[in-house]
């Protein structure tokens, strides 16, 4: 049996439709119009123990709703789900001691106290033995480089430091399943990288199961072998990240640094192969389809002096954005989970 099993999960919210103006506000006191929002429309998913899975999808796709369902915060309208054999929304304490949810935009620590105190509280709430607690805390604070910050009130920490503290708090009871809702939101590149490195290390070492939602493709590329794309409350893709790139994007971005000033003849020659996107003499950027890359390069190298060449995939963000918009327009057909050459460097961070 999989560690997470979801079958036909649906969640429909009722949202009060408030119209503009005082008159309709008054009317709303007596008769309210509700709109049904189908946040999750029937999800089937199986996740095995030790997997690190990313949930991707445009805003409002149903990612967070799914995480809330799995952590038992909300009841589904229909369908079933089990996590480690428990039905999350029954909220058994036994289940609650075995998972954790970290939301990047929510604070769980005591604002005015040093994080150390919140950790002590977690020790009590989760009933962690003294020595186990100390060992886990030592390990986490070393890994996240937090040792000197434990005594500082949480409100005085930077966002990045606070996020590390949040992660520490969530991992103190050694959860077997971890739900992460945008853990790197608002963080700078260095802090993001640190958290990625930590998650990667920790997940591999402890073999825990992690479900992550993030809008930062760098997180996803660095951490998750498996990607589930959700849009309009349905699963639209389930496979590797590389599979998405392979099957949806056939383009490469090429940057050429020439020795001399770029002449019209050169430009004309380049335009035969693809779209010139940027010219900053003596540098040219262009986008071409994959199959013409080698032909183009040999042709150009024969005729011109080139100092530097960079060939890369379009930024992952662009690819995913394209996938999302295709999905929303309903044009996506079965994406194949193909082999993969190289992931773009995700430059559009």
């Amino acid at each position: 049996m999989s560690i997470i099993e979801i079958k036909g999960l649906k969640k429909t919210y009722q949202v009060y439709q408030k119209k503009e103006g005082l008159r309709s506000s008054l009317r709303g006191l007596f008769k309210r119009e509700y709109k049904q929002v189908k946040a999750v429309q029937g999800i089937d998913l199986q996740i095995e123990q030790g997997e690190f899975v990313a949930f991707l999808g445009p805003n409002g796709a149903g990612k967070t709703t799914t995480l809330k369902l799995l952590s038992g915060v909300i009841h589904p309208t229909s369908g079933t789900a089990t996590v480690m054999g428990h039905t999350p929304w029954q909220r058994e304490n036994e289940y609650r001691r075995r998972f954790a949810l970290v939301m990047g935009n929510k604070n769980q620590l005591w604002w005015d106290l040093p994080a150390q105190e919140s950790f002590r509280l977690h020790q009590q709430i989760y009933r962690i033995e003294g020595d186990v607690f100390q060992n886990t805390l030592d390990e986490l604070t070393d890994l996240l480089d937090l040792r000197d910050l434990l005594q500082q009130p949480v409100r005085e920490l930077s966002l990045g430091q606070r996020m590390k503290m949040e992660l520490t708090a969530a991992l103190l009871h050694s959860p077997e399943v971890l739900f992460l809702d945008e853990p790197t939101i608002g963080l700078d590149v260095v802090a993001q990288h640190n958290i990625q490195q930590f998650l990667k290390y920790y997940q591999q070492k402890r073999k825990i199961t992690i479900l992550l939602t993030s809008h930062y493709m760098k997180d996803v590329a660095a951490l998750c072998k498996r990607v589930v794309i959700i849009a309009d409350g349905l699963i639209k893709y389930d496979g590797s990240l590389e599979g998405i790139i392979e099957s949806t994007d056939k383009r490469k971005m090429i940057t050429l640094q020439f020795r001399d000033v770029i002449e019209d003849s050169l430009l004309a020659a380049l335009k035969k192969f693809g779209d010139v996107t940027d010219i900053e003499t003596p540098r040219v950027k262009l986008t071409v389809t994959r199959d013409v890359v080698s032909r183009m390069l040999s042709s150009i190298l024969d005729d011109y002096q080139v100092d530097d060449i960079v060939v890369e995939d379009p930024p992952l963000e662009d690819i995913i954005a394209a996938v999302f918009s295709e999905i929303t327009e309903g044009r996506v057909n079965q994406l194949a989970d193909g082999e993969f050459e190289s992931i773009g460097d995700g430059q559009g961070l």
Binding site: Y13, Q14, T65, K68, S71, G72, V73, I74, H75, W89, Q90, R91, E92, N93, E94, R96, R97, A100, L101, K106, Q108, W110, D112, L113, E117, S118, R120, L121, H122, Q123, Q124, I125, Y126, R127, P153
Partner: protein, 283 residues
Amino acid sequence: MTATAVKDNRIPLRARLTTWWVILRIAMEERFVYRGDFALGTLMRFLPIITQIFLWTAIFQASGRSEIADYTRDTIIAYYMLTMISRAFSSMPGLCSGIALQVRDGEIKKFLIQPVDMLGFLLLGRVAHKATYYTIAVVPFVFVFFLCRGFFPGWPEAPVFIAFCLSLFMGFLLGFFIEASLGLVAFWFLEVSSLVFIYNLLSFFLSGHMFPLDLLPDWAIGIVNVLPFQYLAYMPAAIFLGKIPEEELWTSLAIEACWLLAFVALARFMFERGVQRYSGFGG
């Protein structure tokens, strides 16, 4: 659900007590962060006493009477000072709006995700709040009461004093569970501030905070007697001043205990229902 409940019941009392103590200690530490708030808050608390002394001296002088409904000027001032103590136990500033805010901004999730009981947790937080506040405020309290000792008829007898302490303790719990129930209304109506306003207003008049309840006409006393407000301010003061005949003392406390149990049950029920609703519709 029951299986875990049983399992949790097996946790030794010692471990539970440690948990409670740690929660209490941490909440107390948090309260101590606001030292400046303390000092000012304590000082302001005593100002109304001076007004009351002047007010009632004037009233008694103007009426030319030495007693109004069994109260002399001195006992009425003693009464006000004692209700200050009752209210020190039973008032719950920020509890109701705090719960409502947690429901509204979703922080309530924490209590659904973590294996901790929200009402128990908040209650311990409140005990910590009161304990920290009054360990510091006890100094000015004792000082002011010492200065004003002349207004008091003297110490009550031991059983009466025990009843007084019990009524303070239950007043604290009753105040907590009433306001918690009000705050939990936020599961149904996101905004509870007008409800809090009405509650505060009723409580001001019907708890005996504004004037001793036995000054009221009979029909009004009839209403007051079927409401729980009197236990929040009037009852402890009245017990201390010997206004409650000894044979009625334990009946009054028993009725207060019933109110308390009713509100504990109500708060629990509302929490369970509210969470169901929250998880069914919101999130």
